[in-house]
Amino acid sequence: VFHFVTTNSHLLASPEDKVKGVFGIFLYLDISKNKVMDLLSTCPDVLKEQPNDLKRKVQNLQKYVASVENVAKLILKCPTVLTLPLLKVRSVVGVLKENCTFKTAQVQTILTTTPVVLLETPENAELLFQYAFFAMGSTREDMVKAFLFRHKWEHIRSRHMFLERRGMYEPPDKTGKTKNPNPHLRDILATTTKDFLTQVAFASYEEYATFVSLLEQEEETDVDTSDMSSSD
């Protein structure tokens, strides 16, 4: 505690009952004191929240992920979630449920395994979904297993397009079907570059590095042209 307080001296500036209130919520979530201290030092902004707000946020999350244990899991993975406005969390979950039509249980898994999705803008979360669904023909189940929302769109796109141009990823038809099975989304996305190259793409590092920088360039030229057209 001494170490914690000396390295987080701003705590001393917070009113006592506020600190108590915040700790009370963590107690409710059954998060051990050591973990609470870790959490507060990685994300001190949590202490800026009003205990009542925090309580409401926790209750809101509990609604989405079913149990207190899951809320605790989620918060330990990504404490920043507690600093997000309620509305923001609701809008992201809304997109997952309505626009992407994930089932309630899937949303629950997404939130507990990949809480960073809540930090995304709803538009960006939907973009990732659309890319995986339409361009890659993945199922929602695949996306949950691959922790889709943990990845950057650029990462997803370069991994996918690399495989597709190598003839190792068959583009889905209009109904999302392919003649031959494609590699698993999880193996494509949730792997180190090394594993991806040796076990999925069977390609050299130079090829992939060159490809990624070419894609970035394409992106830049796209941006350039759109800039030009907007100034016209």
């Binding site: 190598r166 003839g167 050299s204 130079e206």
Partner: protein
Amino acid sequence: KQMYRNRKPPTWASQVALDMFDQYYKRQFGTRWSSIRLALLSEPKHAALVNNFGHDPEAVCAELETLGAVDIMDGQQALRPAWRAKRGVRGSAHVATVQQETKTVEPLWSEENVYDDDDNVQSAGNRESGQTGGVSRRVQDSAVSLPDVATNLRLFAMTDTSRFPPAKPDADGILSYYILDAASVLPVLALNLKAGDIVLDMCAGPGGKTLAIINTSVSLSGIVANEPKSSRCKRLNQVLRLYLQRGLSVQKGVKVTSFDGCRWGKMSPNSFDKVLVDVPCTSDRHSLTHDEKTNIFHVARQRERTEMTDLQVKLLSAALAAVRPGGEVVYSTCTMSQMQNEGIVYMAMEHANQTSNILTEVGDVSNLVQFFQHSFTFSEGCRIGALVLPSLPNNWGPLYFCRLRRIN
């Protein structure tokens, strides 16, 4: 919604081409096809051919070098990236060679390493960099001699994806460099140009290789640039105008003609020291990227496609007749199709022999292959001539070239 964008949606013709390539080239290249496919479907590299007849070619070279470009004729050292890539061709593409970027530059190229000429076995002390695949055609650098003819070409080293800005007119109002695929200079270098040669560029439009011929270090006696298609011929004239000061093309003996190439054998037999036959072909790269009408795989061009091999044989035989005995012909294409490459060469040699009693022999281009082994990925499956395979770190080609010498 345009929220996600893959490459341009394939047109019908380019999809037909891709499906055919997937079948045909997979058989030809095996597991290596994936890497070639990836390269063909991605942005190609381009090189800058410096115009030696510009206002100040040296300044142009210096300027291009400040962009990071290197001289293709320069010690091939510069073309290797710090984290050296494997250059092996032989069936090694499926064996990934993942190498940490942080790995220090290995002494793989130093003198004390002796390689088995045609094997992937290497001397000890090099295990960690050895990789699993074959490292092909590796010889000690010192054993490779400079080609007699030099070209003034600047390009970006492998894995470098920078691009050259479009050339601008210099103080004399002519363009300072021409952007092309670096592999395009190989057929020109394979011509073995000698001072005083008279050269026929039989299929010249739009003129990239013609410019490369004019811009070699050799002073020629004359060049005939032939292109029958009027739009292409117009472009050829335009290129010559943009790159040579007025009067210079006359002084250099450059002449533009517009005949069917097949007629040159009858029209002026035994007349040229060198002939370049850069035939129309089912250009692999264009077939995968071009829009409907210009795509050779478009249904409307079915006939042209089936007659193409016939035309290629005729053009090459005509070239063998137009060259003088002892002279040399270089045949080139931008496809990897064995039929259109080695197949045509064999057929044309046979044809020229049967119809006109012309004897020819296949020339050796291994010196060029060796010299440029770091700039290009050469196919190992080529029995005559040489084939540059596209690969992403070095995205040039495809380009096939073969040198033939007329005996009688």
